[in-house]
C-alpha cells in the first residue's frame, strides 16, 4: 500500500472525544466500590457539597474516584504529548520518555529528594523530578546523536544504561529508607494512580497544561525536522535552540507526570504511533489527538489495574508495561526492517 490514507481529522476528533467521555464514565463508575450510573449522575448533579444521601458513594466519588480520573487524564496526555515531541526531535519512532530513561531519571530525582527530605517543601519532589528528567533527556540526546542523526541502537542502549543506573539508585533508596519513605520510593518505581489526591492534581494540572500548550508551538518545526537538520535550517528553522526548547518541554511533561504517578511506561510510545497510522505524521493534529488518546489509554489501563484483581489493585505501570512491551518489540522489528538491519 503506497498511497497514504488519511482519515478526516473531524471524524477522528469526534471519535476520540466520544471514546474519552465513555471511558471517563466507566472509570468513575467501576472500581473497588461500584457506583451505579443513576447514582453517579445524581452525585455529579448535587456537586461536592451537595446532600450526602449515600455518604459513602458521595465520598468515594468526590475524594477518591474523581481526582484519580482527572490525574490519569493529565498524566496520560502529558506522556503521549512528550512521546510525540521526543519522537519528532529524535527523528525516531522508538523514542519515548520511559524507554530512553527520561522517566527513570525523573524517578531518581524524586527518590533522592525524598531521601534527603526535600518532600517537606512544596513542589520539592516535583522540582527534583523535573531536574532528573530533563538531565537524562539531555544525556540521551547528547550520547545517541552523531552526524545529525539519532542512532536507534545507541539511543536504546543509552536508555538501558540510564534505566539500570536509576534502578540502582532506587534500590539504594529502598535500602536506606524508613517505612514511610519506603512506601513512596516503591511507588516511584512501579507507577500507580493509587495515591491520587486533589493536591496531586493541583500540582500536575498547571505543569501538564502548560507543557501541552507550549507543545503546539512546535508543530510546524517538528514537521520540518523530519527532513533532517541541514534541510530544516535551510528552511529557516533554528535547529539547535528549537531542539533544546523541545527537550525542555519533554522534561516538563514527563517529569510532572512521573512526579505524580511514578514511572508509567509505553503510553508515550503506543499512542503517537497509533495516531500516526490514522492521521499521518503531521504534528499539528498529531499533538492534540495524541493528548486525547493518551488520556483514554491511561484511564483504561488504570481501570484494568483497579478491577482485574479487585479488591486488590495492580500498579498501573505494571499494566502498561504488560501491554506496551510486546508492542515495543513489534515496533522495534519493523523499524529495524525499514533501516535494513543494525549489524
Amino acid at each position: 500500500m503506497t498511497i497514504a490514507r488519511r482519515t478526516s481529522i473531524f471524524a477522528v476528533g469526534v471519535f476520540l472525544l466520544a471514546l474519552l467521555l465513555a471511558t471517563t464514565l466507566l472509570s468513575l463508575a467501576f472500581g473497588a466500590f461500584r457506583i451505579a450510573l443513576p447514582d453517579l449522575l445524581r452525585i455529579i448533579g448535587t456537586g461536592p457539597n451537595g446532600d450526602a444521601l449515600d455518604a459513602v458513594a458521595h465520598n468515594v466519588f468526590w475524594q477518591v474516584r474523581l481526582p484519580r480520573v482527572v490525574l490519569a487524564m493529565l498524566v496520560g496526555s502529558s506522556l503521549a504529548v512528550a512521546g510525540v515531541i521526543m519522537q519528532g526531535v529524535f527523528r525516531n519512532p522508538l523514542a519515548e520518555p520511559a524507554t530512553v530513561g527520561v522517566s527513570a531519571g525523573a524517578a531518581v530525582g524524586a527518590v533522592i529528594a525524598i531521601i534527603v527530605g526535600l518532600n517537606a517543601f512544596p513542589l520539592g519532589v516535583q522540582l527534583a523530578a523535573f531536574i532528573g528528567g530533563t538531565l537524562s533527556t539531555a544525556l540521551v540526546y547528547l550520547l545517541s546523536r552523531s552526524d545529525g542523526k539519532t542512532e536507534v541502537v545507541t539511543m536504546i542502549l543509552t536508555g538501558i544504561a540510564i534505566n539500570a543506573f536509576a534502578g540502582a539508585v532506587i534500590g539504594f533508596g529502598i535500602f536506606v529508607a524508613d517505612d514511610d519513605e519506603l512506601r513512596s520510593v516503591t511507588f516511584w518505581s512501579l507507577g500507580t494512580l493509587g495515591l491520587a489526591t486533589w493536591n496531586a492534581v493541583g500540582v500536575v494540572a498547571p505543569l501538564a497544561l502548560l507543557g501541552i500548550l507550549i507543545s503546539t508551538k512546535f508543530s510546524r518545526v517538528l514537521d520540518i525536522l523530519a527532513l533532517g537538520d541541514r534541510p530544516a535550517s535551510h528552511l529557516g528553522v533554528r535547529v539547535e535552540p528549537v531542539r533544546l526548547q523541545a527537550i525542555a518541554v519533554v522534561g516538563l511533561l514527563a517529569s510532572s507526570a512521573v512526579a505524580a504517578t511514578g514511572i508509567i511506561a509505553f503510553v508515550g510510545l503506543l499512542v503517537p504511533h497509533i495516531m500516526r497510522i490514522v492521521l499521518g505524521p503531521r504534528h499539528r493534529h498529531l499533538l492534540w489527538t495524541s493528548a486525547l488518546l493518551g488520556a483514554t489509554v491511561t484511564l483504561l489501563a488504570d481501570l484494568a489495574a483497579r478491577t482485574l484483581l479487585s479488591p486488590a489493585e495492580l500498579p498501573l505501570g505494571v499494566v502498561t508495561a504488560l501491554i506496551g512491551a510486546p508492542f515495543f518489540l513489534l515496533l522495534l522489528r519493523s523499524t529495524r526492517r525499514s533501516q535494513g538491519g543494525w549489524a
Binding site: 527523528r91 510546524r220 528553522v237 505524521p281
Partner: protein, 252 residues
C-alpha cells in the same frame, strides 16, 4: 526578485585540513553557475559555505549586500533555497506534505497554487499522495527539487541535482534549471557531468584541492589542458558536426 550572491575569499579549515582555500564566487540573477571538480575537491564545502551551513574560517558571503551571518535564518530562507545531495526523511510524510514544507519560511503551507505548480514542474503531481519512502531514488530527488521550488527563492543552490537520474531525466531537469534562470533566478549547481556543464551553464567554476583553479564561460574554461590536469586523466574536447563541444576521456 533578484539576488546577487557575493562570496569573497572563503577559507574553511577543519582540524588540520584546509577544505577551501581562498575561493571567491559571484552569482547574479539570470546566471546558472556550475561548480565542477573531482571528488573531494571541495565543491560541496563551497556550496555549504555559501548556504551558511557552518562558520567560515575567514571570508564573507553577502546576499544583496547584506552579510548572511546578519540575516535571520527565516529571512535567509526566503532568499535562497538549498537542494542537498540526499536526504533521509523520518516518518511517512506524503509527497505533497513534503513539497508543502517548502512554503514554511513564508508561513504559507496551504498555498495550493505554488505547491501544485512546483509538483507539476517536476512531474510529481501523480505521486502526491504517495509516501516519500516508497519512491525510487530518482522520484525522491524530483520531490526534493519540487520542495526547493515551492520555497520560491531568487537564489537556488543545488548539490548534484542530477545524481541518480537517467539521461532523459537529466535533460528534463536541466531544462527546468534553465527556465529558472530565464525567470531571473540565480542558480548554483554542483555538477559531475562536464558535458552537461558545457551545455547548460552560463558560467563554470572549477575547484581543485580546495582552490578555484578556473572560472568563466564554459567554452573557454573547459580546455583539455586544464581538465587533464585537474582530473589526472587525459581528456580531449572535440566538436561535433553541429558545432557542439564534447568532452571525452582519451584512450590509454
Amino acid at each position: 526578485m533578484t539576488a546577487a550572491l557575493v562570496a569573497k575569499n572563503l577559507v574553511v579549515v577543519r582540524g588540520s585540513t584546509t577544505l577551501l582555500n581562498d575561493v571567491s564566487l559571484e552569482v547574479s540573477a539570470g546566471e546558472l553557475v556550475a561548480v565542477l571538480g573531482p571528488n573531494g575537491a571541495g565543491k560541496s564545502t563551497l556550496l555549504g559555505a555559501v548556504a551558511g551551513d557552518f562558520p567560515l574560517t575567514s571570508g564573507s558571503v553577502t546576499l544583496n549586500g547584506s552579510n548572511i551571518d546578519k540575516l535571520a535564518p527565516n529571512d535567509l530562507a526566503r532568499v535562497r533555497a538549498v537542494l542537498p545531495q540526499q536526504i533521509s526523511i523520518s516518518f511517512p510524510f506524503t509527497v505533497r506534505e513534503i513539497v508543502a514544507m517548502g512554503r514554511s519560511p513564508w508561513r504559507d503551507t496551504n498555498d495550493t497554487m505554488r505547491i501544485d505548480a512546483a509538483m507539476q514542474r517536476l512531474d510529481v503531481t501523480a505521486l502526491q499522495e504517495r509516501v516519500y519512502q516508497t519512491l525510487s531514488v530518482g522520484e525522491q530527488a524530483r520531490v526534493s527539487m519540487a520542495r526547493v521550488l515551492a520555497q520560491d527563492t531568487p537564489l537556488l543552490l543545488l548539490d548534484e541535482p542530477t545524481a541518480g537520474f537517467d539521461i532523459g531525466q537529466q535533460e528534463r531537469f536541466l531544462a527546468i534549471a534553465r527556465s529558472l534562470v530565464d525567470e531571473g533566478r540565480g542558480v548554483v549547481a554542483v555538477l559531475h557531468d562536464l558535458n552537461v556543464a558545457m551545455r547548460f551553464a552560463t558560467r563554470v567554476v572549477v575547484i581543485h584541492e580546495g582552490r578555484c583553479v578556473a572560472s568563466g564561460d564554459p567554452q573557454s574554461v573547459l580546455t583539455p589542458a586544464l581538465l587533464s590536469d585537474v582530473y589526472h586523466q587525459k581528456i580531449q574536447v572535440t566538436t561535433t558536426a553541429e558545432g557542439r563541444s564534447v568532452i571525452l576521456p582519451e584512450h590509454q
